[in-house]
Symmetry: C2
Subunit: 213 residues, 2 copies
Amino acid sequence: MIEDRQDKKDHILEVAEKLFAELGYDGASTRLIAQQASVNMAMLNYYFGGKEGLYFAIFQKHVSVQKIKLQNLNNEEISSLDKLKRCIDDYADKMLSNCAFQKIIYREMSLSQRSDMNKKIISLISQNALEVKKIIVDGIKNGSFNEDVDADMLVASLFGTKSYLINASDMSSLLMGKDVTDPEVIENIVKPRLKNHMKKMFSAYLTHHDENK
Amino acid sequence: MIEDRQDKKDHILEVAEKLFAELGYDGASTRLIAQQASVNMAMLNYYFGGKEGLYFAIFQKHVSVQKIKLQNLNNEEISSLDKLKRCIDDYADKMLSNCAFQKIIYREMSLSQRSDMNKKIISLISQNALEVKKIIVDGIKNGSFNEDVDADMLVASLFGTKSYLINASDMSSLLMGKDVTDPEVIENIVKPRLKNHMKKMFSAYLTHHDENK
DNA sequence: ACTAATTAATCAATCGATTAATTAGTTTTG
DNA sequence: CAAAACTAATTAATCGATTGATTAATTAGT
C-alpha cells in the first residue's frame, strides 16, 4: 500500500530529525540514521535521493504549516499587541514542543557551508520572520507601539530568547537549577515563564512612556 | 625563540577559530586548518595533541579574560541598572567584534556529542552567565528592579538577542536589508542599534510601573 | 652531540553513495 | 483464474574519497 511507504518515510524523517538535532548534520551519519530507523542504508538514497535530500525534506515538512498559520494571524482583526502576544504564545508552544527541529534550524542558519541547500532553507524560514516583523511595523504605524521601537531588533529578541533556551539548554539548566530538556519541566515551568516574561517585557517596552523626551 | 613558537600557535588558533565558525567542528578538517595556517598537519597534533585539543584551546583563550572583566564589574559601586547597561555594551562590543568565537560557542552548546569536552566548555562559559544573573538578582533584592522580573529569562533575552544577530546573520541581513556580516555595517549600524534597543527594552521592563496590580 | 621542531608518507576507520542481486507486489496475458 | 512478465521495493556487499592520527626520517637550534 502507498500508505505504508509514506509511513515509513515519515518515520525516517522523525528519526533523522532527532539525530540531526543531537549530533549535527555531519555528526549524524546516514548509517546511524538508517540503523535507528530500522531501514537499509540504501533506502535513504532511494527515498530522498541522498543525505542532503533527506535533510531538506525535514525543513519542507515543517515550514509550510507555520507559514499559513502566521498569514492567517496577520489577517485577523485584533490589536497589534494582541497579535504579538499570540505570536509569543504560538512560537513558545511550537518551538518548545519540538526542540529538535528548532535546534537544526538554528544551527543551519549559522553555517556558511552547503551553500545551495543553505540558501533554499534560509529563504523558506525568512518568510516567517518577515511576517512577524510586519506585525511590529504595522503596530508602530497605527500608533499602538512607540515610534522609536526598533522592529528588527525586537524580532531578534523574540526569536533569540527562545532559541537561547533551546539551543543553550545546558546553560539554561545550569542557570535555572532545573533540567530544561525534561518535557515535564518544559511544559510546567519553562513555557509559562517564557511566555509571561516576553509578554511583560515587550508590553512594557512597546507601550511605555519614555521619560527621556 | 620561544616567542616564535607562541606566535605560530596563536596563528593556528586564529585560523582554526575562523574555520570552525564557518564550517562547524566536523566540517573544518585538520588538513584544511593546517593548510590555511601554512603549517604541516602533524604540527596540530604536536602542539595541541589532536583536533579536540586544538578546539578546546580556542575556548580557554577567550573565556578566562571575560571572566575577570565580569567579576570586576560586579564589584564596582554603581547602580544595578548601570551594571546591566555596562554588560550590554561590553557583550555587544565583544561578541560583534569577534563573531567567529561567538558562533562556535553557541553551536557547541547546542550539541550533545563530544560529551567530555562539551561539559568542560559549558562549565567554563556558564560561570560568566552566572555573573550576569547575579547582577539582575542583586538589582531585584535591593529594589532597583521590579520584584516580579524573571532573572533567568532576562539572561536568556540578553544573550539570545545577540546570538540571534550573529548566528542567524543571513536571516538578520534579510530582515534589515543590510549585510550584517560586513564589519563596517556591524560597527556603524548593528552595534549602536543593538545597544540602544536592549538598554531601552530592559530599562522599560525592569523599572516600569505595572498597571495590572 | 643532543633535543626540539618539522616534514612527507602512510595508517586504519568512517564517510556517503552505488552496485548488482533478490524479494515482493502488480499487471498483463493466454 | 493462473502463469508469466514486469515494476517497485529491499538487501548485502562494495566503491572511492576523506577523515584524524601516527610513523619514521629529516632539519634546525642549542
